[in-house]
């Protein structure tokens, strides 16, 4: 600014900073800062409000599987719910990631170009279905249908410990929850990896095709290597969503905090489902204990999201620099 008006007398130039500009700029900056403040406040309040519960706890918070915060002496730990959260999220990713990448490749390269946008919109609709409806469907419709599959897994693959089921009951299992989670995470994975695939330079794809590569060879040589970091972060963002999903999981699982590797047997719980299921019965210490477990979930999802986003952001800056 000073360079432009260097030779001009002040009387013509007028004051550079107008009051309206200053106020508006500060408003906008304040709103932006508010976002950071909210994120910090979430961490701060969760830490503060989890202290009473953690003080009262007589068991090891990290290694205990019990959840009896309102008994005296109060005993609770996150081992069981952490186990359930990680297992359901991992199984959900095993389902959602291959299908999600397939859907993204289909929409980006295989579908007729005229239909691609519409087909992408249809898959995105899956993300618009509220999680309570996934839960209702999972509990009432999908769970009975998955009984046969889980029995088959037990009968034929029962020698693999996780598929073994000694109870013969196949409802309310971590496996059912993981399948529903997989469906819910699928649109996240496919939408983000689709964005990544669409950024692959056309010239690379065309060069591969011109050299006589088949479509799959083009994908393998030109598309996938270029997109690998983005695909990893798409999977991680899906993981973040699977870790924190509450209602669908809470409807399918019963509040039974156990560590059980037989994932088709009933039982198991997750961080978020434990909070939703225990909330209304909890006393003051119980609420504080649930907040403490929520803090662990918050940190977990924060780490996953920060890593995933920094991969994407670094790529974006790299492309802007090109």
């Amino acid at each position: 600014m000073t360079k432009l008006g260097a030779g001009v007398p002040d009387s013509i130039q007028g004051s550079v900073v107008r009051r309206g500009d200053l106020v508006f700029r500060r408003l906008a900056k304040g709103a932006g800062l508010a976002v950071l403040v909210v994120l910090a406040a979430i961490a701060g309040f969760l830490v503060w409000r989890s202290v009473p519960g953690l003080r009262a706890n007589t068991a090891n918070f990290l290694t205990s599987t019990a959840w009896f915060p309102d008994q005296s002496p109060s005993r609770f730990g996150i081992a069981a719910i952490a186990f359930g959260t990680v297992v359901t999220a991992a199984l959900a990713l095993l389902i959602a990631v291959p299908i999600g990448f397939g859907v993204a490749l289909f929409i980006a390269f295989y579908a007729p170009p005229k239909l691609a946008t519409a087909l992408g919109f249809i898959v995105d609709l899956l993300a618009a279905v509220p999680s309570i409806i996934f839960g209702l469907w999972g509990l009432q419709v999908l769970m009975p249908h998955l009984g046969g599959l889980q029995r088959w897994l037990n009968d034929h693959l029962g020698f693999i410990p996780i598929f073994h089921n000694s109870l013969g009951i196949y409802t309310k299992s971590l496996f059912v929850a993981a399948v529903v989670l997989g469906v819910m995470v699928l649109p996240t994975v496919s939408a983000i990896s689709r964005e990544i695939f669409l950024k692959v330079p056309h010239s690379n794809v065309e060069a591969a095709l011109a050299l006589g590569a088949t479509r799959w060879e083009t994908m393998r040589m030109a598309v996938l290597p270029f997109s690998r970091p983005g695909m990893i972060s798409a999977a991680m963002l899906g993981l973040g969503r699977a870790l924190g999903e509450t209602i669908a999981v809470a409807l399918i699982l019963s509040a039974l905090n156990v560590v059980n590797w037989h994932v088709t047997e009933p039982g198991g719980n997750t961080f978020a489902a434990n909070i939703a299921l225990g909330w209304n019965e909890a006393g003051p210490i119980g609420l504080s204990a649930l907040i403490a477990s929520g803090l662990v979930l918050f940190v977990l999802t924060l780490v996953v999201n920060v890593v995933a986003r920094s991969i994407i952001w670094r790529r974006a800056e790299f492309h802007e620099g090109l």
């Binding site: 500009d21 898959v123 046969g148 088949t214």
Partner: protein
């Protein structure tokens, strides 16, 4: 004709005829049905799985025999990619059709016009009116809180803070915030607003939790829209001596308003189905409460949760009908958003 095909045949190597795929599919299906008679895997789902596996194996083997390994792998990959798209459609169609059929049986004017006051879990009747009132009020309040903050943040990111360290940090954490689980927003509002400040569990507390989930969505969509406003428009305004803030309010925002509105509608659609934060911040309520600042207030998602919890036949019927109302609510918002995008987009062209 024959010479031509022969010539290309020599150039290309042998290829499978177009009818190969449907023919293999038919054979696989027939074999699966036959196998279903003698093997332990039966039923519609089992037979379909066997048919799909047979098709993959048969088609790839056929292609390998005729075309060689490269094309066989290519065909297998293509089939898998097409199949994954179809697999993604299955749950969508399944969920929507179930909600339509099971919810449609119960949905009526009476269901929309009555609350659950005095209706026991075993009794039929009752309705979603109190929840509809709650959801509309909570979502409106959340929008009133989240839209100004979200739009102003986007303005800061695009118009003021370009390439500054602070704006990069804000942009990054907005992205991170989209990944914060919704139940954490509920926990935060509970521990800050209700425990620490001593407010009651009300519709307003629920709206606060929803606004936390809404802000990052609004920021992202508004930012995208502001970025595509041509900078010539801004420069023209500056050249006429218009202050920057008036340029933003009078030139930039009006140009992008269609897209911003679409983004806001989509954000509303996203939060109106949220259950977890509302469970922690508003009590379940069976009666009509028009006042979001005092007393428990129902909402459609918590209504469905409550009915599923009752687990009786009439309650589950009500849960499906509530789910249908929720889907319709979200669908109306989605369609409106698309219509706005289409109308304003068309006007500019």
């Amino acid at each position: 004709m024959t010479t031509l095909t022969l010539a290309t045949g020599h150039l290309q190597g042998r290829r499978l005829p177009r009818a190969a795929a449907p023919a293999t599919a038919l054979v696989a299906a027939a074999l699966a049905v036959l196998l279903g008679q003698i093997s332990p895997v039966s039923g519609v789902a089992g037979t379909t799985c066997v048919a799909v596996v047979l098709f993959f194996a048969g088609y790839t083997a056929l292609s390998f025999a005729v075309e060689g390994s490269r094309h066989a792998i290519d065909r297998l990959a293509s089939t898998l990619i097409y199949a994954s798209f179809l697999a993604a459609l299955v749950p969508l169609v399944w969920i929507l059709s179930t909600v339509l059929v099971r919810g449609g049986r119960v949905l009526s004017a009476g269901f929309l016009g009555h609350s659950m006051r005095g209706i026991g879990a075993d009794a039929t009747g009752g309705g979603v009116y109190h929840a509809l009132v709650g959801t509309i009020e909570q979502v409106l309040l959340a929008t009133v809180i989240a839209v100004p903050i979200g739009v102003l943040t986007a303005i800061y990111l695009v118009e003021y803070g370009r390439h500054s360290k602070l704006s990069k940090a804000i942009g990054f954490f907005v992205d991170v915030m989209t990944g914060v689980p919704s139940i954490i927003a509920g926990l935060f509002v509970y521990s800050a607003f209700i425990v620490s400040l001593g407010f009651q569990r009300t519709g307003l507390a629920g709206a606060l939790a929803l606004s936390i989930l809404m802000i990052p969505v609004v920021v992202r969509s508004t930012e995208e829209m502001l970025k595509i406003v041509p900078s010539e428009l801004r420069e023209a305004a500056y050249a006429l001596g218009v202050p920057k803030w008036r340029t933003i309010l009078r030139v930039v925002i009006p140009t992008a308003i269609g897209g911003i509105t679409t983004g806001v509608m989509l954000a509303i659609a996203r939060i109106s189905g949220e259950t977890a934060p509302l469970l922690l911040t508003t009590f379940l309520s069976q009666s009509i409460n028009f006042n979001p600042t005092s007393g428990p207030q129902a909402s459609i998602p918590t209504f469905v949760w409550d009915q599923i919890g009752s687990a009786t036949h009439p309650a589950l019927d009500r849960a499906w009908a509530g789910a249908l109302v929720l889907i319709l609510f979200v669908a109306v918002l989605y369609t409106t958003a698309r219509l706005i995008a289409w109308v304003t987009g068309g006007a500019r062209r």
